[in-house]
Amino acid sequence: MRKILVVDDEQDVEELFRQIFRGEIRRGEMDLQFVLSAQSALDYIQGLQPFDLVLVLTDINMPGQSGFDLLRKIREKFPELQVFMIWAYDDTTNFEEAKKLGANDFIPKPVDFIRLKESIAKVLLN
């Protein structure tokens, strides 16, 4: 099963994603995992046996380490892992920085789930 990790400090994100992708989850096409901080995401990724994670969706503005810190660390250790950044900013400075750090896609808030589903489908196809 294709495992996707969602990193966001807002508790309701888990409920939202589980409902949005309820069809995919029910059909066994997707396995969603949730953590509330960048550090717990890193712990989760490093502890994976076997490594069956295909995608990380991360918020940027989080307690402790930001989504950028997470992206940087993932790129060091897992250069192949796909990472999508979810953010509430409108400015392009963040966009440029994320691109430079090697983010694979950018999802603005409020999240357009039709678009997000398309982007995820592309990742899952590969």
Partner: protein
């Protein structure tokens, strides 16, 4: 009759003439210097005015950016939970199994509660934003200090939450009831309050038991506003310079170093005072004093 001029008189006249010339030269020089220093002063005041304006815009800008950012999180839930709920209603209509129907209804109810919750969250944020942009006037008006403190305490908290999501701080309001209204430029004084509270929040941001107390009090013919935090405190050498323009302890690019210096000017121009009491790693208390009969 031939005019006989005595040599002593000639010398005397010559000296007077010389003194006069010297005086004129000196006078012109002084006038010129005065003009130069007057120009420099005007230029300085002009620059100062521009900087003050910049600081004002900068603080408004970060506040707005913080609030906009903060609004998008609840908005994300409102938009998407309502979209899902619409889909769930269709699924409910098509569902045949009673158990399934019951489950869908439960989810719908839960989603509607979430929509209300996040809608209210966004509403509270927008409200405080409106209150900040309203009433932008430079005229003095009778102002309720408690209300002003309360409003800007909320605003500063939201702005802080927008920049540091894990930010948490217990807030205590010790407002003396029935304070007389004070004649102030409320927009300016609110800037000072916002500024001091934000500084306090920065000082406690890494503390697990962060606490901020805002206390208002009438003592004699003055109102005091005391903003106390249990944060990092202010070292003695910083205390000496903290009201100096461009002095900042923040990393370069983050602080303008004008916040406290402008706050100080604003309070002084209202005939009041700002004092500071602090102990490193224990607390900082900033006390604003404003005369009640400020004209």
């Amino acid at each position: 009759m031939a005019l006989v001029v005595q040599p002593e008189l000639m010398v005397c006249g010559f000296i007077i003439l010389l003194l006069l010339a010297l005086f004129i030269v000196q006078y012109n020089k002084a006038k010129k210097e005065k003009l130069i220093s007057e120009n420099a002063l005007a230029e300085l005041q002009n620059t100062r005015g521009q900087l003050s304006q910049q600081e004002k815009l900068a603080s408004l800008g970060t506040l707005m950016a913080g609030i906009m950012h903060e609004v998008k999180n609840p908005l994300n839930f409102v938009n998407n939970f309502s979209e899902i709920t619409r889909e769930l209603l269709e699924e409910y209509i098509e569902a045949k199994d009673e158990e399934e129907k019951k489950e869908i209804l439960g989810t719908i109810r839960q989603n509607l509660e979430k929509i209300t919750h996040h809608g209210r969250r966004a509403d509270a944020i927008v409200k405080s934003m409106l209150e900040y942009s309203r009433k932008r006037t430079d005229e003095k008006q009778l102002t309720d200090i408690n209300k002003l403190c309360d409003e800007f305490l909320n605003l500063a908290y939201h702005a802080m939450r927008a920049t540091l999501k894990d930010f948490n701080c217990s807030i205590e309001r010790q407002f003396e009831e029935n304070l007389p209204p004070v004649n102030i430029i409320s927009q300016d004084i609110s800037r000072v309050i916002h500024n001091l509270i934000t500084n306090a929040f920065y000082a406690v941001k890494d503390k697990p038991d962060a606490k901020l107390t805002v206390k208002t009090q009438l003592s004699g013919n003055a109102i005091t506003i005391a903003i106390r935090d249990n944060g990092t405190g202010i070292p003695e050498e910083v205390k000496q310079k903290m009201f100096d323009p461009f002095f900042t302890t923040k990393p370069s690019g983050e602080g303008t170093g004008l916040g406290l210096s402008l706050s100080f000017d604003i309070i002084k121009s209202h005939g009041g005072n700002i004092s500071v009491d602090s102990k490193e790693n224990e607390f900082t208390e900033m006390i604003i004093t404003l005369p009640v009969s400020s004209k």
